[in-house]
Symmetry: C2
């Protein structure tokens, strides 16, 4: 049998475990040109909350009754395509289930001799690539500038801040709670970290950025982005990468202070990493060489077992993870 | 004597004529390297409302008791600099007064054989240049795209829309009232104009932009910008040129729907025309040739007499003008 997690209902407000259902389905079979994959790792990402709503985002929403969507890494157990062999480790998007069938042309082989398989969902995958292109292409960070990163201990933020440090920037994180802030400063090497749960975000952010902010790498939005706006320098950039503060359902956040964008000629730009597909190899090489040289720290938070995937997502949305959140589906 | 309009008090909320005071001052004298100018035209612009507040904007605020700031065109009546002769027409920033003294190096000679002197405050001045660089450099408008311009009948908006039409765009204006909308469509040649006073802005904007919005040239902000956000296409641009809706004092506007910036990879960018100073000549040549070829319509709203400058500004802030608002200070 193939265990699956289905979207059982759409959340009204905050998501809960009741919006999901674990079922046992028949084992799928690979048709012509397809491969059957035993999923080993499931990536848990903030965008998944958006897919649970009945609203168009980058892509159509997940359907109620369908397997929840998500990127996976697993081992090929049956193949009807000459390019992919049994035992190959592949990156694909089979969602929240233990097995899945993909077209061979839709999977990407993962070289596990270079890095552990799970890294292709984290530092060498979407989060790492997002950090790379967001910081350098969208944010256009320059040495000596002050870069602020929200969700600084998360899969994207932790890479953004370290890349910015290596690039010669002053780097300030924003994270929720002392534990995360210590991780960000002590283990990741940020210059400072502001705890947005301490209740003094605007003042603390001002104190942590005596030269103002040149790049705001925004993963959170809401009050966090609002606190950054008045601190931004002339010609500063806001990389709009995520708005996890707005993913909880309810009314969209109402942002005050947009006049700063006019007065200080700020550029605020939304980004989705898919738009850089042709340049993934360049970024992967850059990230891999920094990790293997020990210059980039990479941390994973692992939850065991498919049945715990809903809790992993809810925890991520409440900011419980450090680094990349994964679910291990098979040993 | 030299009549002047002083900032007499800072507005609490909306500005009123009581915030200004007309006085008679002694005639100023030109010192070494200076010129004495009899001001003929005073430019009235939305940014002036911001200067009345005690808040840093692009530049420091006007001081209570000082002559109100503003760009002027006038005739040199005394000169202590060999480069500027008596009778020369010059563009400078002498503010709300009939005479003023400027350093010769701070004035720009205006060639009145090419165009009327007042045009250097309008179509060939800051508003025209703002339209040019905002549309092409910041907005990066491309033929076939839909460009929406708010304050469409104003000094900047009227030029933006006409330039966009000449560039091959579909152009939709947003203006307040039927008269302005008729002007925008019938005289300026926009494809459509939405009356934001009709109370159906989101629906009317959607109907006027069946292909969505690629460039939002924003002069107004507030509910106007908020109505545009959900209509914006992937990779669309918002040119943040003015936020006249927020200039009235009171609380800053609270914008909902910024998530569209993320989902659709929108670029929102603030602009101030000063940043293109080195390229003014190129834009002036472009604008002048279009006007002289009859391809660009230019309209001025003229108020007579310095003492009426406060009313001209208040009228502008309430949207009463069509085209460039000027005060004629001398015949």
């Amino acid at each position: 049998m193939n265990r699956q997690v289905l979207l059982d209902s759409r959340p009204q407000g905050a998501a809960s475990v009741d919006n999901f259902r674990v079922v046992a389905a028949p084992m799928p079979e690979a048709g012509p040109g397809e491969v059957l994959v035993r999923n080993r790792w499931l990536s848990i990402d903030p965008y998944m909350r958006g897919r649970m709503n009945d609203a168009k985002s980058y892509v159509p929403p997940a359907k109620v009754g369908d397997v929840m969507v998500g990127q996976t890494v697993g081992d090929v157990v049956a193949s009807n395509d000459a390019r992919i062999g049994i035992g190959d480790t592949v990156l694909t998007s089979l969602g929240w289930q233990e097995y899945g069938v993909a077209r061979a042309s839709d999977v990407e082989r993962v070289d596990t001799s270079i890095a552990p398989a799970s890294w292709s969902l984290g530092i060498l995958g979407m989060p790492g690539l997002t950090a790379w292109f967001g910081l350098f292409d969208v944010g256009a960070a320059k040495p000596g500038e002050t870069v602020v990163v929200s969700a600084a201990s998360g899969a994207v933020g932790s890479v953004v801040g370290q890349l910015a440090k290596l690039h010669g920037c002053r780097v300030v994180g924003i994270a929720g709670g002392e534990r995360k802030c210590r991780f960000v400063v002590d283990e990741l090497g940020f210059d400072a970290c502001v705890d947005h749960k301490a209740g003094r975000l605007p003042d603390d952010l001002r104190d942590a950025c005596p030269q103002g902010i040149d790049v705001q790498f925004e993963n959170v939005g809401g009050a966090v982005l609002e606190a950054a706006l008045p601190r931004m320098n002339r010609n500063a950039r806001i990389v709009m990468c995520g708005l996890i503060a707005e993913y909880g359902g309810g009314e969209p956040y109402a942002y005050r202070g947009l006049r700063a964008i006019l007065v200080n000629r700020i550029r605020m730009q939304g980004m989705i990493v898919f738009d850089w597909k042709e340049r993934y190899p360049e970024a992967r090489r850059g990230l891999a060489s920094l990790v293997s040289a020990g210059r980039l720290t990479y941390r994973e938070s692992v939850v065991e077992g498919l049945e715990n995937a809903p809790r992993a997502l809810l925890g991520l949305l409440q900011g419980e993870n450090l680094g990349k959140q994964l679910v291990r589906l098979a040993p």
